[in-house]
């Protein structure tokens, strides 16, 4: 017989704002972490400035894309840490808060806190890169898309681990290979021609290539533009929808 206790199922995304605020407070109390997020892009920018200042504007665009991409690494680490070490999933998800709210709240909370270094890079870019309104909007759009892709990927990956030690190695490998090795900080033209389609299919390098093309430092054929835009959009929407499905699916262990 159904209960007379007057509680209904929660609405989708119920609890997102509250968990976002939780994550902002948690991350905000770890100020050093915010500074460390600048280390890799900062060092690369200094190297570029010393070795080839003419590439600085490209590297700066790359740093903005990279900084949004590595937020996915923070989502991965945070989601796994909270699930494995704190059992926060058990506490939060065995309740009316929806799983997708947990994922989104955490992701946006991390974005809010770590956006400060990205904004700093963006302000710097207005002085260094010829950022007209259209290019600025393009940079904003691709950075947001890369963030959504990375945060969704990070959350999904986080559910596969049972030990935080394993995560450090894999997450570092994943985010550095796709965020540093690929043509994000350097022009797509310097990347082997045969591998260009791969670079244009991977969200961080596709995003960087589109902005490089918009500021005139890289030439893309119309086919390559379509490949980069479609790849970025389809992959991001696909991974985001999958992350929502996966967040719901993984509340209960098998």
């Amino acid at each position: 017989m159904q209960s007379d206790v007057s509680l209904g199922p929660s609405r989708p995304f119920a609890g997102t704002l509250a968990f976002l605020w939780t994550e902002v407070l948690v991350q905000g109390n770890e100020r050093m972490a915010m500074l460390t997020s600048m280390v890799v892009p900062g060092i690369i920018l200094v190297f570029v400035l010393i070795l080839n200042p003419s590439l600085f504007s490209i590297a700066l665009v790359g740093a903005i894309v990279f900084s949004t991409f590595t937020m996915g690494q923070r989502v991965l680490n945070e989601a796994a840490y909270l699930r494995i070490d704190h059992k926060a999933n058990d506490m939060y998800l065995a309740g009316p808060m929806m799983p997708e709210a947990y994922f989104l709240g955490m992701s946006v909370g991390i974005l809010v806190i770590y956006l400060t270094p990205t904004i700093f890079l963006g302000i710097l870019a207005t002085f260094v890169v010829p950022l007209h309104l259209d290019v600025g909007l393009l940079l904003l759009a691709v950075a947001a898309t890369v963030w959504l892709f990375a945060a969704s990927t990070g959350y999904v990956f986080s559910t596969f681990f049972r030990d935080n030690r394993a995560i450090w190695a894999y997450s570092s490998l994943f985010f550095n290979v796709f965020g540093v090795l690929m043509p994000v900080f350097y022009p797509l033209g310097l990347f082997p021609a045969a591998l260009r389609p791969i670079a244009l299919l991977l969200p961080p390098s596709a995003a960087a290539a589109l902005v490089q093309a918009a500021i005139g430092t890289t030439t893309l054929t119309s086919g390559e533009v379509i490949l980069a835009v479609a790849g970025l959009a389809v992959e991001t929407v696909g991974v985001f929808l999958f992350a929502i499905y996966w967040a719901r699916r993984t509340v209960r262990e098998a």
């Binding site: 199922p9 929660s10 939780t22 909270l82 065995a94 929806m98």
Partner: protein
């Protein structure tokens, strides 16, 4: 209207993983918890208590059988059951970079409470759990007991209709444990139902209306603490620190347990005088006390181990 907050029927759980033999954690557990009850699950490590709690709290899929929470089948509609429940997970920790006050408040907000209600319940819970002195310190700086109190305070503040507490007082000092007991009693008086696991038998006895003893995924016995104690075979226990060697002289009085040199005899009061005469003649020191839940637990689980 269902009078049960939770009912499980023939619940089974088999953990399967590649390369290792399947492990049957639950082998047909049936139990019910009535509204407003405090029920404890007792069992050795690995007996299946946490597995049961995880399934009942919608965090683990059962292999077969069913669990209903307030009449909602948790396998079919976990999202409908979740608003009714709140969980203190085993070995859970509060967010290290939140203070207890922030932790409780944000958790309540995440569960959909208004600002005013969340604030009021946060302050109430902090007070009830004696966390006033550390309410604004980051949890990373708190002791293990204070962190555990924060976890319990967070979940208690929800006043959810059904609370699952997996070893809620682990690591707490005796004073803190009593504060938790008082809070849990007060919650059930308000209408909440509590299912908890604990290794503290005194806690299970003073706190629970009923108990289930679980071993190797099966319910061995259940009832009130008094029911379980009666099942031991007597209401008194006589302990003789040097009596083990003379166990045969006492077998006729009741159930005898030998542990090293110590002999414990469980018996009824009417035969106590006779036993004490024999002990005095044999120059054995003896102490008399009431049978505790520990004897009942050891007896029930011991029988099960002997039967293997």
């Amino acid at each position: 209207m269902s009078g049960e907050a939770l009912r499980s029927v023939d619940l089974r759980k088999i953990y399967e993983s590649r390369g290792t033999a399947p492990v049957e954690a639950l082998s047909g557990v049936s139990m019910e918890v009535r509204r407003g009850e405090r029920v404890a699950l007792l069992g050795r490590n690995g007996a299946g208590k946490t597995t049961f709690l995880k399934i009942a709290s919608t965090l683990l899929r059962p292999t077969s059988g069913s669990v209903e929470v307030f009449g909602v089948d948790i396998a079919r509609s976990p999202e409908k059951a979740r608003p009714y429940i709140a969980v203190v997970p085993q070995e859970g920790k509060p967010f290290f970079h939140l203070s207890p006050r922030e932790q409780i408040y944000t958790y309540l907000r995440a569960r959909g409470f208004t600002r005013e209600t969340a604030k009021a319940r946060t302050e109430d819970s902090i007070e009830r759990m004696g966390l006033e002195s550390c309410a604004d310190r980051l949890s990373v700086t708190l002791s293990g007991g204070q962190r555990q109190r924060t976890m319990v305070a967070t979940v208690i503040a929800t006043e959810a209709p059904l609370l699952f507490l997996d070893e809620p007082t682990i690591g707490m000092d005796p004073f803190a444990r009593r504060e938790v007991w008082a809070s849990l009693r007060s919650l059930t008086q308000k209408g909440s139902t509590i299912l908890l696991t604990t290794h503290y038998l005194d806690e299970a006895e003073v706190l629970s209306h009923r108990l289930y003893i679980v071993e190797q995924g099966r319910v061995l016995s259940s009832g009130t603490a008094d029911d379980l104690k009666r099942s031991v075979g007597g209401t008194l226990k006589v302990q003789m620190p040097e009596g083990a060697a003379q166990v045969d002289r006492f077998r006729s009085f009741g159930h005898c347990v030998v542990d090293g040199k110590v002999l414990t005899v469980i018996l009824e009061p009417d035969t106590l005088g006779e036993l004490m005469d024999i002990a005095v003649k044999a120059q054995l020191m003896a102490t008399v006390g009431p049978v505790t839940l520990e004897e009942a637990f050891l007896r029930a689980v011991g029988r099960s181990i002997d039967a293997e």
